[in-house]
Symmetry: C2
Subunit: 749 residues, 2 copies
Amino acid sequence: MKKIIHGLLATFLTAAIFYPTSTMAQQSDATQPADLKMPTLEDLIPGGETYRFTENLYGVQWWGDVCIKPGIDSLFTINPKNRKETLLITRAQVNENALVTPTAGGQGNTNGSILQHFYNVEFPWADKPYMLIKKGKTYIVHDVEKNDIVKVYSQAEKNNGANIDFTPQGGHIAYTVKNNLYVDDKQVTNEPEGIVCGQSVHRNEFGIYKGTFWSPKGNLLAFYRMDESMVTSYPLVDITQRIGTIDAIRYPMAGMTSHQVTVGIYNPATGKTIYLDAGDPKDRYFTNISWSPDEKSLFLIELNRDQNHSKLCRYDVETGKLMGVLYEETHEKYVEPQNPIVFLPWDDTQFIYQSQRDGYNHLYLFSVDKLAGAAEQEGASALAAPRQLTKGEWLVRDILGFNAKKKEVIISATKESPLQSNTYKVNVKSGKITLLDNGQGVHNVQLSASGTYLIDNFSTPDVPRAINLVSTASGGANPRRIFTAEDPFKGLVMPTVETGTLKAADGKTDLYWRMLKPRDFDPTKKYPVIVYVYGGPHAQMITANWMYTARGWDLYMANKGYIMFTLDNRGSANRGLEFENCTFRHLGIEEGKDQVKGIEYLKSLPYVDANRIGVHGWSFGGHMTTALMLRYPEIFKVGVAGGPVIDWKYYEVMYGERYMDTPEQNPDGYQATDLKQQAGNLEGHLLIIHDDHDDTCVPQHTLSFMKACVDARTYPDLFIYPGHKHNVMGRDRVHLHEKITRYFEDYLR
Amino acid sequence: MKKIIHGLLATFLTAAIFYPTSTMAQQSDATQPADLKMPTLEDLIPGGETYRFTENLYGVQWWGDVCIKPGIDSLFTINPKNRKETLLITRAQVNENALVTPTAGGQGNTNGSILQHFYNVEFPWADKPYMLIKKGKTYIVHDVEKNDIVKVYSQAEKNNGANIDFTPQGGHIAYTVKNNLYVDDKQVTNEPEGIVCGQSVHRNEFGIYKGTFWSPKGNLLAFYRMDESMVTSYPLVDITQRIGTIDAIRYPMAGMTSHQVTVGIYNPATGKTIYLDAGDPKDRYFTNISWSPDEKSLFLIELNRDQNHSKLCRYDVETGKLMGVLYEETHEKYVEPQNPIVFLPWDDTQFIYQSQRDGYNHLYLFSVDKLAGAAEQEGASALAAPRQLTKGEWLVRDILGFNAKKKEVIISATKESPLQSNTYKVNVKSGKITLLDNGQGVHNVQLSASGTYLIDNFSTPDVPRAINLVSTASGGANPRRIFTAEDPFKGLVMPTVETGTLKAADGKTDLYWRMLKPRDFDPTKKYPVIVYVYGGPHAQMITANWMYTARGWDLYMANKGYIMFTLDNRGSANRGLEFENCTFRHLGIEEGKDQVKGIEYLKSLPYVDANRIGVHGWSFGGHMTTALMLRYPEIFKVGVAGGPVIDWKYYEVMYGERYMDTPEQNPDGYQATDLKQQAGNLEGHLLIIHDDHDDTCVPQHTLSFMKACVDARTYPDLFIYPGHKHNVMGRDRVHLHEKITRYFEDYLR
């Protein structure tokens, strides 16, 4: 790892003070700080009335290899070769025409005006002049050349459907009504309450985020069916009703009976549905559904309940029978498949599989042909060793697509730095990897149909956002800038942002930290510190985004005179398997030791008041906050924990058991991480905030902790936001942060 | 009222400083305050480990006209004439004999030792040498002369019954199992879930506290049957289960569909049950059940849902038919029958009815005979005008019994002072009323079988508790002291207690207040004040008990340097109908105006810091606390409200509609008293505490207020005690008061 870290060390080892461009610019403009306005929470918190978000080009996308740039009144194309903008169509034209020929398809009602702006139109047909307009739940196919409506899909609107999944290739629309699946006008499933079809399963773990999967040509629909009838309900109470009512959620807690998932395939042409013959679904996870290009096979990555053995399975779409197990992976801790396989567009016999098997998520090339002999042997790993396409102490974050002509796969990866996400092309034959962007920051990329161009939407610590059009052929040279966002904090007082690294509690691993200091920082003074912490898997708080991803509340509190500090401890994301899984079976403990290393660093700074250190976090960060207050009362004087996990046995099966096993398998680990057991250690001021509709981390966590503290005669504080789920969103998010602020002001000031 | 107040004015008009006897005694002993220990919450709060309760003679009672004085090992009799104590039996004797003849009745198992102490034995047979021993749910009749067991009633034990109601006269035992009624070994009712038999109904309003009523000779059992199946359930959540579960309670909210009650009569001899033919039970209250002495009639006071029209109804026990309406009472605001009729023991044709019809609760003598002609006329108030037995601007609190020989009814009343409860005999013929006690304090009295003697258990502001045996014949002269409690606070630092009166917001009504000052009070200093408030009907905070009923927490906070102040505003108990019902249809508003009068008085005192005034109360007092914080933010800086009513439409039908009518009838009143509407007025620090199993004032009140404050961008604080009901009891009550204390210390100090 040393070699790769090397570049980072240069960046971070000596803490680099970073002034946001806004204030730097104003300084060079000789603007006095007195001219700057002190930002309010309304300015800095999403949901605030004057929230300063970074500008963007909404709806920018590819239409084949032409870039589409939407506006309110007009839609432009941009030629990626020369950045030339051309008006494609106006809103007035679309709406005028829609009035004349209201519903070419004969279905649905477009109510005259069908467009209010172009920001959410889509161009999913690379080779057709068709624009997809979503008006409510009605999908309208519009020919931009003829300025005419081609077809209207109003079935989801008519049936008040949800989870709408339209296949541009097949021309079908799938959606759910309550717990059942519909396609076009037809009800596909007819299950009783307790069985859910066509929706995401396994609580969105394993990369799952939806429940319908159209085949490449749009002829078949694979879908999830989840039987939850055996899962215990958790009662959330809706107090906004005339008399409080129960909103029950099926919530399988660690070690308890979980739901059972099967996969169906529906054929709109025949109206027939088959289910994969995958055996007893009890205690199994069916993840990462993908289709073969010929639509004859369906691929799943199946996982046992222990989550330590995954199998890449291939099913015959016609019969539902297992054709073979293509690949298996085991790990003594856990395996976590999160990406479906992807076939090479130029070779239907080869696909890419992502695996952390060498310690970092990398690409592996598999050949289906070589599996022929193993087709009938269930459980056989008949595959010859796959070819590793990418390698190194960094990880692939995403496959963005392919350039079929050049036989390249385009990926985003952390090759430059664990804080960054850059874009690369990898030559599938040679393995040669080429950087396609500026090598800085975090890039969100859309690849054009042919793979020739990128829309490269990126930010860096000193660029709020910029968008380039990039040629993949030229290796990222001469990017054409089509958008540069203004500094969202222009005219506002901003703190300084620094980052750096320090050694983890294992004595060897480098950890990244971020520190915000008040703009008028005086090194001879003593400042209180608030540690903002998350600390759990799947997330990283410090990335090379604008201002190193400092949060609005961090900026606000730094302005108020706090030093704001965040450290990504071991167990957090994008640092590889070992970094993440060292927390296995005792979540929160190693993480806490690393946070203490951060505190040791802070205490070494002359301007830190070691007697005024606070901590704040939400969800896993709420667990961390509470755990730090209880395990290190001599360090942390004030904490605000939001939606915390208090006892992992109250958390759900999928996430919980991956990291903790079951309470029966790991009684000591559950005992050691159950914060109720340590309620008696509370010395400082701890405010716990929970939402009464938290269906991710149910209110039982916090309420049972309150009871434990009452039993132990300790004195936490509590607040509940009615009607919110796992976080406080929207307008109320400003209230939340004012509430948190007051707590620190009352007790840490 | 002036004439009666006169005596009180002498006592209270000039605020009398009161030093508890303990500290006075220690002063005269030349004990330095330095020798006194500062009491902790554990000393002062019920449930505390070292809680200082006032001693008592537990289980002292009458056996005919002989006084029984129980101990752990021995049971004594006391001759009331000469106070002579005689050993009746020892525990060893009872237990030894119980071993030899275990179960004379042949039923049940007494497990050898049947007595651990004598404190809860009873002597319900005035004319038999029988002692009733309750061992768990087994009732054992023991002959103290023969030292032998007469009979064992073990049916309730065997069936795990609740609500046990044993008739010494009839020798039957009634009890409930789940929602059904049992008598002896027989299941009397067989109703499905949602219908409850043999338990208290109408949420314990109208003086109802039980559901079974044995006839005078114990031959028949009247019982309540309540159909709740049409009542909406409120979901309380039990978070102590492995996964949170619902504890649903049937909770009819103001204006919503309420339960329906009927009255059954069971005859153990025939095994038959009849139900009173009272017509459609919808929106009616069936209250104050009582029997005629001959067991042939059952009397009920029936009330309409509006609670402004009551009827005393007589039913034929044989047929269940209405024999007549004996008396009706209406009031434009409400009538509130709370006492069943009581027949004169020397005349089966006459009974006493209690009514507030002249503005104060007084006794009225009715004659049944005169009703004969009206027997078949439903709705007729055929009764000749009843004779008013007691009269005056004071009220009868209770009928204690009769002296049949002298034709006297013995009552407790507030004739000496609204703060007191004294004992009187009233000659039924002449109406002559004679005080039977010392004319001070609050007396709890047991009358002997013949009515000749009283056990007079009392306290006064400077007597923690004493017990006298008093002869009713001698008019309370020469009471014989059988017990004097020690000062429970001996050796502890105690504040001073003062009381006085001030004028209500109506400019004329005298209100009583109580003030506690720190023992080291310095009139040149400025002290913060905490107002402890209840303010609702049915309760009075200031009575002439020991230390004027100052609460342990008040003592604690006064010791910490706060002035503790309480005022019984208009709307509170024991001051008559008009005093109480001036709050009709807008609860909390007049009450608040009176509390402001208290504040004006406080502000007139040079040692009160008007910028540091806080308020605390629970239940109605929680409503008052919240309302005062919102309506008078310029006065009240810190409040702690417990289990508050926030919106009367979330409160139950019986209590809520009596004072507020329904939301449909009184929309303006509900709007004006809905504290959510005023959430935006919150300026100071308000902590609201609620219990998650509060089935009296459901958590919806507090949670909906939190939402209203979030919407209004104001910042209350919140705490929840899991597992507790409408207050925090037991050991956790100390935690509660530490929590409350810290809040005031943080923000009002």
